[in-house]
Amino acid sequence: MIRDIAIISGLTLAAALFVAGAAEAASPQEMLKRYEAEAKAAGDFPEGGFSAERGKAFYLAKHKGGKPATPSCTTCHTDSPLKAGKTRTGKVIQPMALSKTPDRYSDPEKVEKWFRRNCRSVLGRECTPREKGDFLTYMISQ
């Protein structure tokens, strides 16, 4: 009796978690599709599609217009997406590469939040869908 209740509650909980998770989750590929749509709507979708090359250059570049403490993505994320980074307060940031941190880029809200924050910090403006698409393509390729 007690065992049955335990099994049923366990299954219910698992199902609830699955549903809750499924509601939020999107795959990195779906995120890419989203940026593709946004770029197309803005008339800024590149001819050959998003490019990991351009994403890499963007990642490594020293940008202007942002806050002085954070001139580049590499300030916190190191010069390789395969390596763990560090916030300016010293907290470890898991590697940006999807291969190293597989649960990345699957929560649209979170992805958007960090693009907004970090683009403003580094570039002093929000990133364009095309920049986001290139960046994400680079991270998925790594």
Partner: protein
């Protein structure tokens, strides 16, 4: 009565060749003495030299001292003939006469205590009483721990801590005086005081002997002292604590703020400072840390409802309510004072990261309590500090 017990002095500085050793110190008082030596030594060492997290041991030692002192005061009225307060030659006339004797190079051997020794005991017991009392007030106020935590404010506890330290210095002076007195008596006047406090005997006439070892009576009185202490401690400790409460963190705060740094306890800033911090997330110490309007309101409401105004802890009073121009907690003077002995490199080490990560060393940072006993600098960070 008093004279009967204490008038058993002898001419000269000893010369009791004819007297056999007789018992002059009951067993409980001797055991008390040596246990007190150990407890006080531990308390002094941990108090003066121990790192903050040895506070736990210091408090154990203090509790032991307290029980022993309660026992000793009871024993003043229930102990053997020389252990009783009524047997102490404390009258000013007796003291003056004794000092005159000593100045003239004489100190008669007494089976009980001479006036200087008797006063020494009273002073030591009084100081130790003051130390345990000020200690428990400081523990309650500063650490929000122990039986008085519900009644003592942080500020009162802080003042008691200062008094505690002063009394500790006075105790050191008194101990030095006690040892000097014993040294004089044993080495200069040849009175075997050490033997009296160990074997319990002295070479005095048989009629001056203690009535007996009084072991059973001592045990009963000790158990009474222990029971009294434990009862009072536990009864008072059970009172509800209104100065600190557990905060339930909301996800919006833990996730958004905790992504970049340790999510600080809300009691580390006041409502108006939180307002300025959260409203200024667009430039949060050189980074954009915006969270979106709805989340921002949610986070701010949580922080303001649990701000420094609602806590009477050391962290809330000294850091939370400290106004710093850049709003940083680590800019508060108290923060700097308390961390001044920690090298830069310890903060910069991988195990800590920066002063923003309180929880790297304060294991209870999340509770806002910041108990001394919970400070543990990571070994790797400590090593990094040693290299500098």
């Amino acid at each position: 009565m008093l004279t009967d017990r204490t008038a058993n002095t002898h001419e000269g500085n000893g010369g009791h060749g004819g007297d056999r050793e007789v018992l002059v110190r009951d067993l409980p008082v001797r055991i008390f003495h040596w246990f007190l030596v150990v407890a006080v030594a531990v308390a002094l060492l941990t108090g003066f030299f121990g790192e903050e997290n040895l506070l736990t041991v210091h408090v154990w030692a203090g509790q032991a001292v307290a029980v022993l002192i309660i026992f000793r005061v009871m024993w003043w009225f229930a102990g053997g003939r020389y252990s009783r307060l009524s047997a102490y030659p404390l009258a000013p006339g007796r003291v003056i006469a004794h000092l005159r004797n000593v100045a003239a190079g004489r100190s008669p051997l007494v089976a009980g205590h001479n006036p200087a020794g008797a006063w020494m005991i009273v002073i030591l017991i009084t100081l130790l009483f003051g130390l345990t009392l000020s200690g428990v007030v400081a523990l309650g106020g500063e650490e929000d721990l122990g039986p008085l935590r519900a009644w003592v404010s942080y500020r009162l506890g802080d003042a008691a801590g200062e008094l505690h330290e002063l009394l500790a210095w006075l105790l050191l002076a008194a101990i030095a005086g006690h040892l000097a007195g014993v040294f004089m008596e044993t080495k200069v006047f040849g009175h075997p005081l050490l033997k009296a406090m160990t074997a319990g005997t002295m070479p005095v006439p048989p009629q001056e002997a203690e009535k007996g070892a009084l072991a059973l009576r001592g045990l009963i009185v000790f158990l009474a002292a222990l029971a009294l202490f434990v009862t009072v401690w536990n009864t008072l400790s059970a009172a509800p604590d209104t100065r600190w409460r557990q905060v339930t963190y909301i996800k919006a705060y833990s996730d958004n703020c905790g992504d970049c740094h340790h999510a600080h306890h809300p009691s580390l800033r006041t409502a108006d400072m939180w307002e300025r911090i959260v409203r200024g997330l667009e430039d949060h110490y050189g980074e954009d840390a915006t969270v979106g309007k709805k989340t921002e309101e949610e986070i701010l409401a949580f922080l303001k409802a649990n701000g420094a105004e609602f806590f009477d802890t050391e962290a809330a009073v000294r850091l939370g309510r400290a106004r710093t121009r850049d709003l940083r907690i680590s800019s508060a003077r108290w923060w700097k004072k308390r961390h001044r002995d920690i090298p830069e490199r310890v903060f910069a080490s991988a195990a800590v990261g920066s002063p923003a990560n309180c929880n790297a060393c304060h294991r209870d940072a999340e509770t806002g309590r910041f108990d001394d006993a919970n400070i543990h600098i990571p070994e790797k960070a400590r090593a990094a500090g040693d290299e500098s």
